[in-house]
Subunit: 220 residues, 2 copies
DNA sequence: ATCGTTGTCGTCACACTGACGATAAAGGGT
DNA sequence: ACCCTTTATCGTCAGTGTGACGACAACGAT
């Protein structure tokens, strides 16, 4: 009667992508759906979300970020009967792992926006994306999409991808490095493709950004 | 198995208060608890929250503001067995009604912080208060605590009470009146206690404040 | 009339922002 | 070697929002 559904977001191939599973059984046979499953009788909700995350990706929650999103309880959301779904949102770095499918034969990363999902998963996904967009503004969670060390340009690409915007590299650099506890320099530098080598950074200790990085007004 | 719990906040007697019910049956007999109840088999979660709100206060959700807060599912949170609680947060104007107790004999407004509540209601209440504090920053929801028309000073008292801070009346006035769609003048004026008459305002149409009203740095 | 009280407008220095110029440090081609 | 392109990083400047606070307006009480 109580299920946990996951919105797993990552950035692959310059695009925001979500992990979806093609359903092998009715209802919604053959349709894409968010991964999820029922909560075990003596299991905490967060623990259930962590378990699903591990089953689907092999990752622990520590690698990225996992938080409760919202709960969906429309009596008609599941044709089989009353199922209340507690949705969790995860932001994950790009995995070399091509999704260790456990029971789900065909799981894969799909670009967002995705449409025509099973159940009310279109709305859950939309809510998750909006939450992610908004959290980038006032928390350092963009680093959850990055590997342990990264350049400012890579962090900027995260913002540009999630917000679907272009950001001025010079202003972005200034804001990120002046926001207390957002990123810390590792001291190393690295050459990515062309151009001058960039400094490497790791996540800072802040949980809230001050000042915040507000997205530009027009978000079509 | 699925319950809805309500965090009903209002401002009475210059203080932030929450509606609590003294439990008449075990477990936690005699302790204060958040109002709540089980979700009916064919009932939507939001509808269940609205129903509880109406039963406890006689108010409809339209009078104030009602939103989902979070879901709590620790297997041990209810000694009687597994109950997943979907918590809702409501911000309400000060009711002349002294709480129309339906089944709950002893419901009353209690000042926050309240401690020693039944179940995990201490945490739910704390989460609700923090959500309310934070929402005042970037939404016009402070008006949900006010009657249909109000003065800027009354709106300021809402902020001061919820944030436990003093705000400069002149700066507050400037920010509120310059934030697009926050409040609209009704054209009328009113004399409250002493001093110069104040203009009356009603809620504007905005759902997001721009620019936001950030709370001062130190929030003890 | 004077005073205390509350509401409203103005001023000023400072912080943050967006737009954009300038320089640094790499690789590629000739 | 020498340009040229590319990317990273630092600086500048005007506009805007903010906190601190002065000034005045409009009421009731004395």
């Amino acid at each position: 009667m109580v299920a946990v559904d996951l919105v797993l977001l990552t950035i692959r191939q310059q695009a925001l992508q979500v992990l979806l599973i093609r359903r092998g059984i009715p209802p919604f046979l053959g349709r894409w759906a968010l991964p999820g499953g029922f909560v075990l009788p003596a299991e905490d909700l967060f623990a259930a979300a962590e378990r699903e995350l591990r089953e689907e990706t092999g990752l622990s929650a520590a690698a990225g970020h996992l938080e409760q999103l919202a709960t969906y309880g429309d009596p008609a959301r599941d044709p089989r009967g009353r199922v209340v779904a507690v949705a969790y949102l995860a932001l994950l770095p790009d995995l070399p792992v091509p999704v260790a499918g456990s029971d789900a034969a065909s799981a894969s990363w799909r670009p967002v926006p995705a449409e025509g999902l099973a159940f009310d998963h279109d709305r859950i996904l939309a809510d998750g994306i909006e939450r992610a967009r908004s959290k980038l503004e006032y928390t350092p969670l963009a680093t959850a999409f990055c590997p342990p060390s990264f350049t400012i340009a890579e962090l900027r690409e995260v913002y540009e991808t999630v917000w679907r915007t272009r950001l001025d590299p010079r202003n972005f650099h200034r804001k990120v490095t002046s926001a207390e506890g957002f990123v810390e320099p590792t001291g190393e530098t690295v050459i990515r493709d062309r151009g001058r080598p960039a400094q490497l950074f790791r996540r800072g200790s802040a949980t809230l950004l001050h000042p915040a990085l507000l997205r530009p007004a027009s978000s079509a």
